[in-house]
Symmetry: C2
Subunit: 249 residues, 2 copies
């Protein structure tokens, strides 16, 4: 049986990052089509040809007997579909119904509850950078109030929750004793958005000290990022994204 | 076989609204435990006893032979689990793999891509209301720039996308020719957040004219809200929430 042809549409610095990790761990054959941000800091219009919203990640799956690809265009949906259809040995399959419930929870939590706060902090940062000359301080002042009362407070609550979930199971992966959809989906917000580049995080006004505030989450992050296929995914991304324009320059 | 005992934890004016519609359409027996917002406009701490993040909706499922409930705490995960486990006649089951892929897409899209923009517009509105005396205009000025460049623009893009998806299939429900998880998950942001109360929407700075801008979405909204069990769900919510404090007073 011919393997399905799988194409990952990858905008630099986007949530698509986690999908490379997923594909590498599954040993899938896949292609990456790389995109860069426009100078106006929006996704390029070509992405709309893949899926009308024009966001990344988007995955096209071409089956041998069907000219029309299946298109997946939300991270949680991608991870869920790929694991359901391409983890033929059940390597990452949860071991009980309760574990599956928990994986499904994280698949929705990462984009529905955690990531929006990080995005809003980024949007506020970009807005203060783009404010008319002399007004950046004013935008920062207004936003720092909203951030401390809402986005930053919510983000810290979500991180403390994740840390306590790991604490309760004495560390390791998020669900059971092995890698699962939960780890794939959380890789982007925790590793790439928050822990990988403390300087960038500080610029966004996120005043966290991961080793002190979320030690279990830091252990988890180490566990994930030291996996050989995570390292390979990072190298692959770097080589494909070379010379592409990212979101924060 | 005894039916599982199902408890919906429902904070007024929250995303839990859609779950009542889901339960009514499935003819499930369930209990509602109602909560009100605190005077500080946050969810009450009792919700943390159900699930540590303390958000709503949360659903507990008590099986006859197990003292420990299964807890579901993200809207998309709840709709998915409930449909997988309690739609025994397959009334709302998609008719093809491609339709299932699309339902799963919307289950992630509603909270991951659509709802965060509405929440940010609400957060901005609340911030401008709470600004120190005389400074509300300044907060509004700063936020109106960010809204028009980001949140409002993104929201309108998402609504136009939904409208075009319905247009492409010549109206009706979002997937196939029947109600599915897609309609259950989209009920809250489209109906309750945006179309039900045009005055509230204007207050948030959302300058849309649904019948003109998104006519297919308005038709869909009518189709959904005129279903007898949607009407029943609304009456049930009103009676349970009577005298409870809501988010916008």
């Amino acid at each position: 049986m011919a393997q399905d042809r799988i194409v990952l549409h990858y905008l630099k610095d986007s949530r698509a990052s986690r999908i490379v990790f997923l594909f590498e761990e599954l040993g899938l054959e896949y292609e990456i089509k790389a995109y860069e941000w426009t100078p106006e800091l929006v996704a390029p219009p070509e992405l709309k040809l893949v899926w009308p919203l024009g966001l990344s990640p988007a995955v096209q799956i071409f089956k041998a007997d069907d000219p029309e690809p299946i298109v997946l265009a939300e991270s949680g949906q991608i991870v869920q579909f790929i694991l359901n259809n391409y983890d033929s040995e059940g390597k990452f399959k949860p071991e009980s119904m309760r574990d599956q419930v928990l994986v499904d929870y994280y698949l929705h939590f990462a984009e529905g509850t955690l990531e929006p706060h990080i995005v809003s902090l980024l949007v506020g940062y970009v807005a203060s950078q783009r404010a008319p000359f002399g007004f950046g301080w004013l935008v920062k002042l207004v936003l720092s109030q909203i951030n401390s009362q809402f986005y930053l407070r919510k983000l810290k609550t979500a991180l403390a929750f994740l840390n306590s979930q790991l604490e309760a199971k004495d560390g390791g992966y998020f669900v059971g004793n092995k890698l699962s959809g939960a780890d794939f989906i959380l890789d982007f917000p925790i590793n790439e958005n928050l822990f990988l580049n403390p300087y960038k995080v500080k610029r966004l006004g996120i005043d966290i000290d991961p080793s002190k505030d979320y030690p279990r989450l830091v252990e988890w992050n180490k566990l994930i990022t030291e996996r050989p296929l995570h390292v390979k995914a990072l190298e692959k991304k770097a080589s494909v994204m070379k010379n592409k324009r990212g979101l924060l320059g």
